[in-house]
Amino acid sequence: MSATKAQDIGGLGHSVRRKEDARFVRGKGRYVDDVKLKGMCYLALVRSPYAHARLKGIDISAAMKVPGVLAVITGKDLEEAGLAWMPTLSHDQQMVLATGKVLFQGQEVAAVVAESRFAAADGAAAVRVDYEELPVVIDPHAALGKDAPVLREDRDEKSNHIFHWEAGDRDATDATFDASDVVVTQDMVYQRCHPAPLECCACVADWDTVNEKMTIYMTSQAPHAHRTLFALVAGLPEHKIRIISPDVGGGFGNKVPIYPGYVVSAVASLKLGRPVKWTEERSGNLQSTGFARDYHMHAELAASKDGKIRALRVKTLGDHGAFNAAAQPSKFPAGFYNICSGSYDLENAFVEVDGAYTNKAPGGIAYRCSFRVTEASYLIERTVDVLADELGMDPAELRKKNFIAPDKFPYVTPLGWTYDSGNYAGAMDRALEMVGYEDLLKEQEEKRGRGELMGIGISSFTEIVGAGPGKQCDIAGIEMFDSCEVRIHPTGKVLARIGVQTQGQGHETTFAQILAEELGIPVGDITVEHGDTDTAPYGLGTYASRSTPVAGAATAVAARKVRAKAQKIAAHLLEVDEADLEWKDYAFRVKGAPDKAKTMQDVAFAAYTNVPEGLEAGLEAVDYYDPPNMTYPFGTYICVVDIDKGTGDWKVRKFVAVDDCGTVINPMVVEGQIHGGLTEGFAISKMQLIDYDEGGNITGGNFMEYLIPTAVETPHYDTDKTVTPSPHHPIGAKGVGESPNVGSPAAFVNAVIDALSPYGVRHIDMPITSDKVWKALRDAGIQD
């Protein structure tokens, strides 16, 4: 088959232009806030100004007098309906609207429903809440102290301790540490940050009083799971709930949990018998929805004098905020944090994590992160640099000396994962070559002689994505398979529906490319739909880079099921035995006589007009794919920075990213993902922080204080790839969405620390702001 034909098909490896962009660039996307229904009213939330306070009373009388206000809903109203609390995805419960007390600033206290957005806002401002302030706990270490007030009165356990979790062999690890030449120790905090998607959360809940059916348009990364949770929590029959997740303006894990705004909107619609729209404000999104990280980490590495890393020991305290609402597989209280042995071949490792409640917003799993892999990757890549500094070794050389060798895969880590495939040195060598490492080292040497500050930072990360094997991974008991349903119409055009839900990743294009490759049908003839629970097959949703590893696999397998039936029809059309046909160059061909062939289009028409006896009509299949293992993308990032000695400001001069995500479906989409994730990693390392003062007042709760880099600050990135397919994935793809956010913070930080290392600086916590660099220089006696 000619190359032109492959180009026409637009299957794997083609930078097909994104199908969805036609509507996005023309302003024709349809987001939740674009949904306008007849009789629709609007909901506004009243939020707590206090981080911890007793609710003495709520006076709604003034709010009810505001013209246009229809109803005010409080926690007491929900209590009567049994909905004041809702379960989280981490074996905890969370207040929908506060009852008894509030536990963080920005917590939802009441909801006002009105004829217009303006009346709802005026009504919310008129709700009078009487609070009695209580002592506030912000620091998770203090939360576990003896004198700390117990925040959660609803729990049997009278402490702020949530869980203790361990992985690896503690005794064997201790023994290796005792027997090692060199031990380095580093405390580090992966700060609280927030994914801040462009679109905040929103929903329109529409209770059909005649058919008794609830339709909810919502910003959801996991519409099917949300439908089931609504059924379980609200007690509505599941076939009478329809979740529609239309175009979603970014999710990054922020739109995985169910938030009070959704639940109260549904309650309000039931109460009023009218559609109710809730559109979250930016400050509400930053102050109350799924944040990321807040991991307080203590890392130790044991090594031999010549730089063989032998063991890793990690102790970590996770700040989960007021409720443990971390959105993760139910058996993993610290997510996949035990991926923290990274790309290295260690004798032993041990990691323990405790979780604590504080008077902060709940969350913890978000921001382009496969369940704590970002914290884990940062920890190991930072600590390896600390070890390199201790040993006086080149960080690149130290890494290469300790990489898991390509012939060791599948590789079982001391913390219990089985890596599918990898070639870590291959990605690193390419990155070193691209960045011109030897020349940079020379330049750095010269600059250091002149007292100039230049740093080179490396991160050679390994990810864990594609949750996951159903027996290991479930969300609220539902195993984390995913699905695809493929239907070929008589004229050879395809409708496919998938169980995952795009938030900008480009599924309508990339999943069509998988089908194009498998079916030999041009990508333009394939429509991919998702996000409507009445039509799409059940799936667990898009987060943790799982769409391609799981639903992508289901898509390939569903297409192959279609092809198996199609082969029977092709044999019938060609009047040969099925076994005499092979699928080659996008057609069924008679072995030895490739010109005798039938395309999928030929077969499709026959499937509706001329099926062989004994075969049912139609050409469609569905697959629910339960992956046998996770996938383990990897790569090497190298960052070069220059520091302004006067102000402490640092600028990225060069950034090289070599990713290996296995088989690449659409190189342009992959590159876009990498650019976006690198920019997020840059922002986290330099400027993003959700902070709280001692009184529990959030100091990063709006865009004046929570910073999103613009094109001006964003570095230029040079990207490339190596390709090490996943051996267990039908098309060898591993997923890429999160790699750049996971891998890059360590590269940025390592570069800044490298620049400062001649002055004895070994670590600075993120975000590395100018004033922190200035202070490190001042402490070392340097002044411009």
């Binding site: 957005r117 303006f118 806002a121 005026d122 401002a125 404000e281 930016r282 400050s283 006067g646 102000t647 402490g648 400001d649 400027m687 922080l689 902070d691 100091t699 990063g700 004046m704 204080e705 910073l707 999103i708 880099p709 613009t710 001006v712 600050e713 702001t769 100018s770 004033d771 200035w774 202070k775 001042r778 002044q783 411009d784």
Partner: protein
């Protein structure tokens, strides 16, 4: 973020605007570019009952040199200053400051005079006008008067003007033959308020000796500050490294910053020194001094 309800008036003459203000007193706020007022209203930090929108009054915008001074009309947008050839050629301090205010969207709407009377110590124009020795032309119930910039700022978000006053323009001394200026702004990202910024203006005589100096500071006090001791350290001297160093240290002394997410007190004070030196070096170079 939806503001509380308010009444809106769009007068087409200054007299009409003044009488609206007189009629509504404290309840009324003047709307010019709205780049500070509207966000504060959306957060309900400000809930004025009446807005008097000046944007329909003709003839209140523009940047011109006339009668021996530079005139900036009250409705002149930051972007108009930024793009003015006259300003770029002869008033580099103004050009540089205008170019780094917030982002292009804010610069297209926000006004120079509006920014000044908002009296945010993190505003850029206050420091610039202090360095330039500007005067504001103000119309009030008792007619017209000139208010020197040194008498404008009272404290954060508070000026010496009365609720019934409207600023109609800003008057600056015309640039001398050998004059130079520079604005150094340190920000966490484009569009952020300054962590610290320094406005510097120098006039040199024929011998390259500093005959006049202006140094204004941003975001290091309750108002924009004028570093008078730093100015004195330069006047009568050639702007060489020693003089610049002494002036920069004096400027740092004049600062009284507070700690926040942008940095500690010590950091901000030292940034006044670092940025003052950088601004003065460039101002001197521009003026044709030693630099």
């Amino acid at each position: 973020m939806i503001p509380a309800a308010f009444d809106y008036h769009a007068p087409t003459s200054l007299d009409e605007a003044l009488s609206l203000l007189a009629a509504h007193g404290d309840e009324a706020k003047v709307l010019a570019g709205g780049q500070s007022l509207i966000p504060m209203m959306r957060f309900r930090l400000a809930e004025p009952g009446v807005l008097v929108d000046l944007n329909h009054i003709e003839g209140m915008a523009g940047v011109t040199e006339e009668d021996g001074h530079l005139w900036i009309g009250a409705l002149t947008r930051h972007a108009e200053v930024e793009r003015s050839d006259l300003v770029r050629k002869r008033y580099p301090l103004l050009h540089e400051a205008a170019s780094v205010i917030a982002d292009p969207i804010v610069r297209n709407r926000g006004t120079v005079a509006g920014s000044l009377v908002h009296a945010d110590p993190a505003g850029d124009w206050g420091a610039v006008m202090l360095a330039c020795g500007a005067e504001l032309e103000v119309h009030g119930p008792d007619g017209q008067r000139m208010v020197p910039i040194d008498e404008l700022f009272v404290t954060t978000f508070m000026t010496s003007l009365s609720p019934g006053d409207i600023v109609t323009g800003i008057k600056l001394p015309i640039a001398g033959k050998r004059s130079g200026g520079a604005y150094e702004k340190l920000e966490r990202k484009v569009g952020d308020f300054a962590t610290v910024a320094v406005a510097a203006r120098l006039e040199l005589d024929d011998d390259g000796v500093c005959s006049a100096a202006g140094i204004g500071l941003t975001a290091v006090g309750a108002t924009n500050l004028r570093a008078q001791d730093a100015e004195k350290a330069l006047i009568g001297k050639k702007p060489d490294e020693a003089a610049i160093d002494a002036a920069s240290r004096a400027a740092a002394e004049a600062a009284s910053p507070t700690a926040d997410n942008r940095g500690s007190v010590e950091y901000k004070r030292d940034m006044v020194r670092v940025l003052s030196a950088r601004a003065l070096r460039r101002a001197a170079a521009h003026a044709g001094g030693e630099g």
